[in-house]
Amino acid sequence: MELWTVGNKTILLLFVVIATYFTAAQPDPWIVLLFLIYSALNLMLHIVKGSRLKQGAIVLIELFLIGCAVYHPFFTLLLPFGCYELATFYPRKNGVVLLVILIPLIFLRDSMMVLYMFVAALSYFNYVLVRQYMGRIVRQEDENELIRKDMHRLARSLNENRDFARASEYMVKLEERSRLTQQIHDGIGHAMTGALIQMEATKRLLHSDPHTAESLLQNAIGISKEAIEEIRVTLKNNKPPVEQLGLSRLKTAVEAFSGKTGMMTSVVHDGNMEIITPLQWKIIYENVTEALTNSAKYSGATSAHVEIRVLNRFIKAVVSDNGQGSSKIVKGLGLIGMEERTASVNGTVIADGSQGFTVTTLIPYGRE
């Protein structure tokens, strides 16, 4: 804004200087002096701080110009600009400004009047437009700032989510590991110790009593075989199911929701959960929690039911409540968000309000 004012003012001043130079019969040192004083006052305007002082400076300039105008009419051309500058301190007073800058017209004659009108109108138009655009830019910058903050917040919550997922994964691993250690210690460890003792005894009896030694050795072999079998079984049982993380995370979230809102919830699943990829789990998780939040907010329902089914070509996730439903569904941001998320994996979301409210997420998946 400032650069624009300075530029315009300079152009206007140059015009006035040149105009006075050509109209005057001979050079007038007084006029030069007045121009210089005018420039100095303008410089001062940019040096002083605080809106009071600035306004004072502008009023001073205007008074000075009026004084000059008595000496040479061309100085009136510089008047409107000061008015605009003053007006920037009082937004929404454009009409008043227009009236004020028309006052000098009373004192002007003929070509001077036309010139003044031209300059005043042109700069008024300029000024109004610039003010508007500046306002718009400021608003947009504010908005940008808000969006930036929002993005920052979302990125942070994303990170937290990721951290949470990582942490829970780690917890599961730890639990798994401790269980495994316990099992190895209880079963296999004891068995191996038993076998070892028997083999030690065999070593001692090998020469004195070969018969007993043989039976002891046979024992040790038997125990070792069992232990190996146990290792196999333990390892097989402990192979962690891939789907557990996704499903248990969903169940935890649904239970947490139930605790927070007091709504009854249930989660059932059916079909081969293993084929659901982490990305699909993420979408299902987000859609389910979003739908539950909507239920709690709008439906007046007392219970909500979550169902995950893996069909032959589709994964289906349903959230249904026993609330009031809605005969004509108006899509809010939540539903649109779900649709967009789901569309990213070629899926669809159906919202139905005929019996309670039901949100169904259908995600196709490839077999073969």
Binding site: N312, I329, D352, T360, P364
Partner: protein
């Protein structure tokens, strides 16, 4: 060639979204089924295709030409059999058909020929001089069809043409749909009667809440929920060895034998019932009853949406 191309079609009535970003393609020579519950957005879509409603957004092309830019071309190639009867009760059947064909620019002998042809096609030639107000519901429906086909459109859209008519007229209409298709027409058939759609359509789209939730041949649609069919055969006296032999038949997954009942799980995609029965008969078993439980489109719809087609 694609007879109908719909891209991102959306229709909003105020805040309510009746058709939601729908995209679909109907190829030449298809009988394309549009299956959905009442209020799913079928008729709204059809009204947009026939330029009765202006889409909120999206694009519709008939025979590769945009219907808003070349509306005359679109109308000449399109025949609509509306859900609500569009015939004049106090004009004869002949006059009705002739009037609608005339709207499409047919004149003179051509108009006469085409009118007679259309009446012949729907089996109303002998009623040409009668007034529709004396017709049965089924005959009115047939006349309604004749009005839509006299100008020989490439694409015919039938919006619930069998609502509220007797079984005989219904069969007649289904047969004439097939005949029309064989004579080179592409047909879009909307219905909430699953059996009809399953019977005549070569490809089907299931619509719900303005969206297409699944699309394909009926076999493909059924396979979206399961690929196993359940066959239950009751025989007079079962041979103990039956199970082993049956398992060798392609498609058969498991065979369970409980006294005189043999239960077979088989791939739904494989047509093997004949071979199974033949095998049993060759083994000297007398068959008393056969029951085949296969998912139908109704179950597909129910499984995908959790609701019945006729709610």
């Amino acid at each position: 060639m694609n007879v109908l191309d719909i891209r991102g079609l959306t229709k909003k009535f105020g805040e309510f979204v009746a058709v939601d970003n729908m995209s679909l393609t109907v190829r030449e020579g298809e009988i394309f089924g549009f299956l959905g519950a009442n209020g799913a957005g079928k008729s709204t879509t059809i009204n947009m295709v026939s330029s009765l409603l202006r889409p909120s957004s999206g694009e519709i092309r008939i025979l590769d030409r945009d219907i808003t830019k070349q509306s005359r071309f679109a109308k000449l190639n399109l025949g609509i059999v509306p859900q609500d009867l569009a015939i004049y009760e106090d004009m004869t059947a002949y006059e009705n058909v002739s009037f609608f064909a005339g709207l499409y620019g047919l004149r003179g002998t051509q108009l006469k020929e085409r009118t007679e042809e259309a009446l012949e096609f729907v089996g109303l030639s002998d009623k040409a001089k009668s007034l529709p107000k004396n017709f049965s519901g089924g005959m009115k429906r047939r006349l309604n069809i004749a009005c839509a086909i006299a100008h020989k459109p490439k694409l015919i859209i039938m919006d619930e043409p069998t609502v509220g008519i007797d079984p005989q007229s219904r069969n007649y209409i289904l047969t004439s749909v097939r005949n029309l298709n064989e004579s080179g027409c592409t047909i879009i058939y909307t219905s909430h009667y699953m059996e009809e759609v399953e019977e005549i359509c070569s490809r089907i789209a299931i619509v719900d809440h303005g969206k297409i939730i699944a699309e394909g041949t009926k076999e493909q649609l059924k396979s979206t929920i399961t690929d196993v069919k359940d066959i239950r055969i009751e025989v007079k006296s079962a041979q103990p060895a039956a199970a082993g032999v049956l398992k060798a038949i392609p498609g058969v997954r498991t065979v369970l034998q409980e006294e005189n009942v043999i239960r077979i799980h088989s791939d739904a995609a494989v047509d093997n019932l004949n071979r199974i029965l033949k095998q049993l008969m060759d083994d000297g078993m007398e068959i008393r009853s056969v029951e085949e439980k296969e998912p139908n489109l109704e179950t597909v719809f129910l499984t995908l949406t959790g609701r019945n087609l006729r709610d």
